[in-house]
Symmetry: C2
Subunit: 338 residues, 2 copies
Amino acid sequence: MKSTTIIDIAKELGISKSTVSRALSGDTHNVKPETMKIICETAKRMGYQRNEMAVNLRRQTTRNIGIIIPEVVTSFFMNFIQQAQKELRKQGYRTIIAVSNENPELEAENLQMLEQCRVEGILISVCHKNKNASLYTSIVRHGIPIVFFDRRVEGIEASVVCIDDYLMAFFMVERLIRSGCRKIVHMKGPEHISNGHDRYRGYRDALEKFAIPYDKRYVIKGGLSAEEGGAAIEEFLSQGLEFDGLFGFTETSTLGAKSLLQKKHYRIPEDVSLCCISGTTLCTLVHPMVTAVEQPVNEMATLSCQLLLSQIADPNVARESVILRGHIEERESTLTKQ
Amino acid sequence: MKSTTIIDIAKELGISKSTVSRALSGDTHNVKPETMKIICETAKRMGYQRNEMAVNLRRQTTRNIGIIIPEVVTSFFMNFIQQAQKELRKQGYRTIIAVSNENPELEAENLQMLEQCRVEGILISVCHKNKNASLYTSIVRHGIPIVFFDRRVEGIEASVVCIDDYLMAFFMVERLIRSGCRKIVHMKGPEHISNGHDRYRGYRDALEKFAIPYDKRYVIKGGLSAEEGGAAIEEFLSQGLEFDGLFGFTETSTLGAKSLLQKKHYRIPEDVSLCCISGTTLCTLVHPMVTAVEQPVNEMATLSCQLLLSQIADPNVARESVILRGHIEERESTLTKQ
DNA sequence: GTGAAAGCGCTAACAG
DNA sequence: CTGTTAGCGCTTTCAC
């Protein structure tokens, strides 16, 4: 039952454990090739698996990376995790995943847990633009690098990888306008999530670009969940305002709104056009009437990991802010032609 | 930067590190209350965080649990992970998550990776009924307990927690029949996933119960993805057969089928009724026209963790097979009245 | 090139 | 109740 150690191998071959250790960690410079060979062979034969814990204890590292995501409803974050894990495992890192459930207190708890697990770095998509800002700073000060992804925070000296939400929003709204919509509702995201504001700006600028007057009654709070989205559009309808298009904040809330509209016998492609920014192909597949652009989740994950690892390797490396453009081809939008 | 250890505390107080260790691990029986108190206080004051790696090395454990899920599209598995993580963390375990992507080879790779991470137990929802069976057995033989959840495997001496797919399927199809459907298509799941067969049996028995003749042309392969679901129903339609109801295998493939039908101008509640078994409330919220029963994912996760932990604590504990009944109330179905 | 020895932080006998 | 001691498995000086 007990697994074989370098001592077992050393005994088996009648040599010292130091040599075995050197050979097994690929130190070609200090081990004779033939010794090397025989050690590797017996190691394989005896089914040796090196004990990471002993290595980590000795080296004073954990090889743990923490990932905090805000929710698990959308597959965007799951895809991010999958890709990030793949990337990190390649470099010999384990991942500890935690979910904040859009709740800053839970997020703080998770961060403390990760610090206690002695993670060497953290990837986080925050649930609030500034509520835990001082905690982030304190962690970074403790020498644990953080990379923020998808959602930005204010005033932290850390790397950030996100998507050009402004451009994507502009593009989606532009598409609605070009397809004939003139009275477009925007179910705005919360101000405490960076993307909420960016997408709102995209909405406003697209309207302006096409000389459609902005009417603040058409901007409603859509929340994050399907329930909230449905409730939001229901309240809007109760005001008796006309509308022919809707640009939601999250995929989930947009689908919630769609569901409610259908219940009220709206036909989606004819009475009203819907769009949102989606983290998944599922949305467009399953809801062809809801237009969506896909977020480049894999690039985001890969890049976030790279930035984090480079910071772990060299704490003094420069912080970077990367804005991924997503899958919008430039010619598709007039925004870049301005 | 270097974190405080029990030795630092011992020196600070001029006592031995053993006493500190005992006190900090809550050994009230062997430490004088006042010593205890002062140790805990200085520990807190000095910001002591115990080094799990050293503990694990000493105790010869890792406190790692591996979880393997087949996919990340449905939120069912994400919810499972979230709940399981919560449960396991309470007991001081970390989780390592891997995704097999419905691919047995990838699953095997993941299992090996987990074994190398020296996990103390594995929770797995397999992607194939028997392809990796010998690997599962070998892992169990190595002393690493496995609990299978949601999808059963054949011939492994291990605990299993799953849902009564047969009953749920029976219930859903019965509901279609009672609402007037007579020609019900079943998009059957793959034979290599246990639930596929169970749900198919539920479909058949429900038809029989209501004396509706079984027509094998109405049972089609629906696959797992939205694309496959759409393609499957499209092929069915090309045969020119009439139908008024559909019972899908996965939520995703059912939604794919729904989407295709809508594209072909079917009105879902009137022309045809759809249903499936869903792992999430999202489905029913967002697609009110698709009836679905919800799987008890939290109970499943909690129970799976309990079974796993009890096996870790005592390797000789009896294996259990639990079938959760889900949220169907008995009086809702005639099945149990037979 | 290789070996001997120290030690990472902690726990668990064993003595007292 | 507390201290001493011996490691867990590994890396890494420092000798030879």
